[in-house]
């Protein structure tokens, strides 16, 4: 199950174990865990709610993962993204990459996060401590981060 969208939490250590179990051809495992911060633009938040596009989400994550496998010699790549209401400190997303060498594992993990941030159909709504709630705006820096990975042939919206 290299790609999962779920309400429940995940355990990075367990996912590393799942990827490496019984193998001796892996030398480097990188994980990225994204968590809910307790403040947004200096204002405390109570929670975020993650909406997604069932079906397309899984298809996009699988597409992104396939792109990573094309670019780097990976023994494994895992993407887990939570949905629903999450409070500060909770996990949001986990990426795990495994390769023989560290550079491939690091680059592939960054690549997966950069593409996930711009291409995977998730939307985040913040509930502020003040009682207001708003949809988070996309950041230009995320598009910039994705676009540093030259060579994608995928047609993307501007």
């Amino acid at each position: 199950m290299p790609v999962r969208v779920q309400a429940s939490d995940f355990d990075a250590g367990a996912e590393i174990a799942r990827v490496t179990a019984g193998r001796t051809d892996i030398g480097a495992i990188v994980t990225f865990t994204g968590t809910v911060r307790g403040a947004a633009h200096g204002e405390p938040i109570n929670a975020i709610t993650l909406e997604h596009y069932p079906g397309m989400t899984e298809a996009e994550l699988e597409r992104i993962e396939a792109l990573a496998h094309e670019r780097w010699p990976l023994q494994a790549a895992t993407i887990i993204h939570r949905i629903g209401r999450l409070t500060p400190g909770e996990n949001i997303v986990l990426v795990v990459t495994a390769s023989a060498h560290r550079q491939a594992a690091f680059e592939a993990a960054e690549f997966l996060m950069d593409y996930l941030k711009t291409d995977a159909p998730f939307w985040k709504k913040e509930e502020l401590a003040s009682g207001n709630a708003h949809w988070v705006d996309a950041r230009d820096t995320d598009t910039t981060a994705r676009d540093r990975w030259a060579g994608s042939t995928e047609v993307k919206p501007d």
Binding site: E51, A59, P121, F122, W123, W135, A138, P157
Partner: protein, 92 residues
Amino acid sequence: MTDKAGQPVKLRYFAWVREKVGRGEEDVTLPATVVSVADLIAWQSTRGPEYAEAFSAGQRVVRAAIDQRHVKPDAHVASAREIAFFPPVTGG
């Protein structure tokens, strides 16, 4: 001549697009004049105040997917079964 039976398609809405439109999905028949995603967005903006709020020029940018693949505004809708509208994504 242009008034033959239109194209049936499922429209889906997410995040603030869904909230403005007031529903998550609907089945519509597209007029034959709607060729591209940009045409469809223009048509949507004429369907009532809640649609105008979501789709009029000057509103925040709306992205689209046809059959669960991201597309640009010039993509053709001719063979689409499902077209989704949503803000730029903010997961991760």
